[in-house]
């Protein structure tokens, strides 16, 4: 009785680890055991592999089969190991070349009928295989497109176990099967959204550009129909395009979520979960496997929480960790998965529960208590992270339907944003931060970035008087630097300070 080995990939977060699959038959009564910390789904591989082998014409010896997944201490999840286990088993049983399978990575779930079914996370898995130096990987047919996005590795798409076995020299008939396909993506291809579509909101457009240039988190406040969503949706269009490795990371996350990935998208992701979404949908976690949620899908992009006060308190609190560290941890029974989650946050809320407070020509029916309570649903720590507080007002109907277009296009805005970000990253070279929105207050108040006293004077006076908090002070400084970057100035002057103050109203907050 013999042993055979092949390779598969286990995922923790977005990172893949190579797993060696060892299959060994011993002269004992038949039993099929998988060891190496498999989860429940993996444990069920026994049934799938057995049936799939039989149905593929692979006669597995009726002996005790032990399959070991190493490294033994790494927890392994899901059904993506099926193909590798079947192949190793068949090789150990002498049905195909053990040598051939030794150097190949196999990824895929097996149906009882022997078809190779798609799994989530093929892209990061293939990426890990390529990084580890493997030259060949076999993936389910439905995941072939995403696997092909990874450079430097040969990808074979397989529709059935028989096909794979034959590839490795087995004497089996390869049936003509309909490959299992992934469900078509939910969202239809949308037209690109342009900033020029927004009319009559110059101040808001300006603020959006500033938010983009400095990576500042933003709150849009205004009545329904004012255009908050319209603005938020245009933010990705003015943020710098993703570099190849960044786009690959974003695609890897989409793959992990189970979305079909056909190509690399250079535009940053835009994720807008509904306020009724569950914690799992927002943060991540499935019943058995840790599946990343909306927060992770927004990595390197924009997370838009429309009607922010309607979100569960716990959900808003969950934002704190990623806003702080750029990562989020999802805890499941027995293990913790850590995902990257560095995004730009856009919150939106009505001025009051009924939406009419402060709207010209509208009557607000809310009692003052409920307006205050509504506004206070946002916790202090979350509010503190918001650099820009923008009031969005409804545009007069006549203007809205006039067909007039703003002069600012997304393309021109993006150019400005890229230039401003370039200036900022030059200045921040050697520090852990890349955009102004990330720089902590002390760095701006002290050290080389400290502004001259004459420029700081009005802010300093206000701080002494107690009309601004220290956090507000820091926010104004951050914004002033971004405004200076956009204007091409070396450092902020009193004008930029004034502009920054204009953007951050509600200074006591």
């Amino acid at each position: 009785m013999s042993t055979a080995r092949t390779w598969a990939v286990a995922l923790t977060g977005v990172d893949g680890h190579l797993v060696e699959i060892e299959a060994d038959f011993s002269a004992q009564t038949p039993e099929f055991t998988i060891i190496g910390l498999p989860d429940k789904a993996l444990g069920e591989a026994v049934q799938r592999v057995r049936n799939a082998c039989t149905n593929s014409g692979l006669d597995i010896p009726r002996r005790r089969l032990t399959v070991n997944l190493s490294p033994a201490s790494l927890p392994k999840h899901g059904s993506g190991f099926d193909l590798g286990i079947a192949v190793a088993t068949a090789a150990a049983g002498g049905m195909l070349s053990a040598r051939a399978v030794r150097g190949t990575v196999h990824i895929g779930e097996l149906g009882l009928d022997g078809r190779v079914r798609p799994v989530a996370g093929v892209l990061p898995a293939v990426y890990a295989a390529a990084r580890a130096g493997f030259e060949r990987v076999i993936v389910p047919h439905a995941n072939a497109a995403e696997a092909a996005l990874v450079p430097g590795i040969e990808v074979h798409a397989a529709a059935s176990l028989a096909e794979v076995a034959a590839l490795h020299g087995a004497d089996v008939e390869v049936p003509d099967v309909d490959a299992v396909e992934l469900a078509a993506p939910d969202e239809p291809e949308t037209l690109p959204l342009d900033l020029a579509d927004v009319i009559g909101q110059e101040e808001a457009v300006d603020a959006l550009i500033i938010a983009a240039a400095g990576g500042h988190h933003m709150m849009l406040s205004g009545p329904p129909g004012a255009g908050k969503t319209m603005l938020a949706r245009r933010l990705p269009g003015i943020l710098p395009l993703l570099l190849d490795d960044e786009a690959l990371e974003v695609a890897a996350i989409r793959s992990l979520v189970g979305e079909p990935v056909m190509k690399l998208d250079p535009v940053v992701p835009f994720v807008a979960p509904h306020h009724s979404a569950s914690m799992a949908a927002l943060v991540g976690g499935g019943t058995r496997m840790a599946r990343p949620g909306a927060i992770v899908r927004a990595h390197r992009g924009v997370l838009f929480l429309d009607e922010t006060p309607e979100f569960q308190r716990a959900a808003l609190d969950a934002l704190r960790q990623p806003l702080e560290s750029g990562r989020i941890e999802v805890h499941r029974a027995g293990f913790t998965a850590s995902y990257p989650a560095r995004f730009q946050l856009v919150l939106a809320m009505n001025p009051c529960p009924c939406g009419n407070y402060g709207v010209r020509g509208a009557e607000c029916a809310c009692p003052p208590m409920s307006i205050r309570r509504y506004a206070s649903k946002l916790s202090g720590p979350l509010r503190d992270r918001i650099d820009i507080d923008l009031q969005v007002a409804r545009v007069a109907a006549a203007r809205a339907t006039s067909g007039e277009r703003s002069r600012v296009t997304s393309a021109s805005a993006r150019e400005r944003v890229v230039a401003a970000r370039g200036a900022a990253s030059d200045r921040l070279r050697g520090t852990p931060w890349r955009v102004n929105g990330e720089v902590p207050g002390e760095r701006l108040r002290l050290g080389v970035l400290r502004l001259p006293a004459t420029v700081r004077a009005p802010l300093d006076r206000a701080l002494e008087r107690g009309t601004v908090t220290l956090r507000a002070y820091d926010r104004v400084l951050r914004l002033a630097w971004t405004i200076a970057d956009l204007a091409g100035a070396n450092s902020p002057g009193i004008d930029e300070l004034g502009r920054a103050l204009f953007l951050k109203k509600g200074l006591l907050a």
């Binding site: 006076r461 004034g498 204009f502």
Partner: protein, 384 residues
Amino acid sequence: MLDDARLLPLAERLRPGGDPVETLTRVAWSVLVEPGDGTAGALVDAHGAQEALEIACRDDGLLTPGIVTPAALAEARTRWRPRAQAQAVMEAMTSCLDVGGHLMLPGDDGWPAGLQDLGPHAPLVLWARGDLTSFTAGPAVAMVGARAASPYGESVAADIAGDLAGAGAVVVSGGAYGIDGASHRAALGVGGVTVAFLAGGVDRAYPVGHHQLFERIRKGGLVVSEVPCGGAPTKWRFLQRNRLIAAASLATVVVEAGWRSGTLNTAGHAAALGRPIGAVPGPVTSAASAGCHRLLREFDAICVTNAQEVRELWDDRALDAPSQPRVDPDRVRLLDAMSTRTPRDAHDLARRCGLSVDRVRSLLGLLALDVVVVQTPEGWRRVG
């Protein structure tokens, strides 16, 4: 008090070409009051010297209301009564004439106009020896400082005073040892004009050691005092003459002064009069400069290191260079366009005041910080 017939001719000699009655009356006032007597000044301003003198010498009498309170007048009369001696008036005049001195009255050609900024505390007369046109020879600048000056201080005083006088300024000081003396000497040395204000009468050299200096000053300038000849330089009179030094000049420069120096008193007068104050810095280890440093920090004094910078103290163009933030004229324009009742948005305001929208937003941000304006959902308005 003025009945003696010999008095008028003396007055005539004391102030040739002037109204002898006025001269005499003013002499009487000079004898009656201590320098800086506000009641006297107010009375004289309101009634003229002669009628005021009558009022002063009466026991009672109707007063134009609002000038001086009855209580103040009563108290003043008590002060003045002991001094209302006819003999004193005579002596004042003769002692001055004996040393070749004259009397200057406000409004006379050579009278330093700046003194009138003192209001009711302005001197009623100036007893003077020397060139009566000295004050009008050029812009007057006060150079003051410690008596116990260091060689550094005297050297700097001399440099600056010399340069100033050389450029045509009139160096005004107090004739004391130290900085004062160095300043006077330097001005004289370049053939310039210098004026010394004394605390006592102009017939006596005080300090005695400057006897010859005063002689030279009388030739190249003027020695003046508020106090009649024979008068002693009391502490009060020293302090009062400091105010004259400050008021008579366009700016006051403190060259060297200790932390509690009397010179700071002069600077204080200058500040009260709105005169620019210059201070010369020195080593931080030098106690002799501590007062100057204090002036720079606490009294808005401007650091000066040479005559040119001293000139800039009163030169209008230089004064506008911002070492302090000045009020932005755009700010005023914007506020003018805003209402305390009607909120307006940034665009509207920009149109109204003719500034760019960006500038308006920036100004609104700064004004909001100082709670001068406030934003409502409908727009911006001025805080009422």
